[in-house]
Subunit: 315 residues, 2 copies
Amino acid sequence: MPLDFAAIRAAQERIRPYIHRTPVLTSRRLDSASGAVLFFKCENFQKTGSFKARGATNAVFLLEDTIAQRGVATHSSGNHGAAVARAAKLRGIPAHIVMPSNSSKAKARAVESYGGRVVFCEPTQASRESTCATVIAKTGATLIHPFENEQVIAGQGTAALELLEDVADLDVVLCPIGGGGLISGTAVTSKTLRPEIIVAGVEPENADDAAQSFRAGKLIRVDKPNTIADGLRANIGAPTFAVVQRYVNDIVTVSEEAIVSAMRTIWQTMKIVIEPSAAVSYAVIMQGKLEVQGKRIGIIFSGGNIDLDALPWTT
Amino acid sequence: MPLDFAAIRAAQERIRPYIHRTPVLTSRRLDSASGAVLFFKCENFQKTGSFKARGATNAVFLLEDTIAQRGVATHSSGNHGAAVARAAKLRGIPAHIVMPSNSSKAKARAVESYGGRVVFCEPTQASRESTCATVIAKTGATLIHPFENEQVIAGQGTAALELLEDVADLDVVLCPIGGGGLISGTAVTSKTLRPEIIVAGVEPENADDAAQSFRAGKLIRVDKPNTIADGLRANIGAPTFAVVQRYVNDIVTVSEEAIVSAMRTIWQTMKIVIEPSAAVSYAVIMQGKLEVQGKRIGIIFSGGNIDLDALPWTT
């Protein structure tokens, strides 16, 4: 097992000065619509706009001084890159963020605004990894992998830890799956604190590698997933899949249309901005894909970073 | 004077069971950008999506039983209509909401979702008033005017009351001006609790009737104001103007472009949905139209109701 609950507790103490304890919001209107009692953990309000600040901060602050001084590196087109850049800035060390050349300017600017050095590569997984390896070879920086890193996963688990501290008697917790860092941390936390809880992963149908893997009992890749939920395009990793197999009760998928509709409903009803990846959990409920009647459901809104110029219902 | 602070205190007790005590949010990023310390009172999270729920609830619950039974009526193309409909539903009495025939379907549906009866009229002020008068003559309903009503104004003043209870030592409070209900309640509350506070009204340049009136010392109308801030198109009323003259320190105006830019910045940075009328205060700060360096500024985000299909930066 790649992590235990003690690591998550320790992460909570370590990162406390650097992150927000985000609010848990409720909506009577969405409760009525769903027949459930919903608790939304708002990581869209987190530093850097997503839960990724948790894991990156934990991993960066755990580095020994002599190693930390050489900097950190990662490859990311999105939220993890900004989170690593910010964590490195807080620690006072350099961060090299490898981004595909087709990344939006807004995302590159976000990384730079936290003091990160952006290194562009070709938009392929191979180029990302080789470019990142080259940066590391040159600089001596330490790789902070977005999900194949125990300390990153431990940090991500603190979102669910706060949720369960703030809300008693949850029956179900819903969490999106990309590389599997968030769900791994969420599952270990939830099952440790409340063994009877149901932990359900959610995925876009168009990026259902974890759901397929879960049913097959072995890792199955989905190449070039075509989903608006840009945070969930990564394939689940072997270590995180092992946690999912052990702790997660089910994985449910939804269509692209359902994701957009759920995102719009959340914006309209709750007056908050969430990104498509964060909307997948509520899409599962809207589509009636999970039995939720009368249940107390925790939902982790994973982030709020979205290009306001390219909203799916206006393009 | 149309109201005193005791009426606002009483309103707070009266409406407490029916409204949200909305959160006051902060943003380190916007503090850095402005050089001030900003406190955002989030009435976009209020019931019905705007502060209007406060005043309407106070006025509707103050009616004597025999009068209340005959119902309430108002004319509104927006937030006040939904607020009156909801207050009437809570009280168990009918509500007749006169809306111009060119109102969006979404707004009419919002009123109906709270149980209000929608009565369409021609989209002119004369038709609104005559249609509303006819409804009242037929039904015996009581008019709940959106701002020329002391008890509505008293209810609106409870937003600032909560803000000043939650945040100590504010130097300035900023508040948008439409018909003047919100600023009247805000000014009386703020100057009573903290006489040295600066109360500044904000308006779109394209709907600057209150600013013009303030400078001229007499009511000046702006007909057919062409502003995206749909909540601020009404001309200020005589009773609310009297309060503004007595208590408000200044009225500052901003362009349409500035309003859109401020709204977008708030969505992007704070991950919350506010409507154009709510963005005018921050537009004033972004444009450097007010001296805010080092000051503690309270900003009332008046509402969050906006048509997501017609965002100003995508059309």
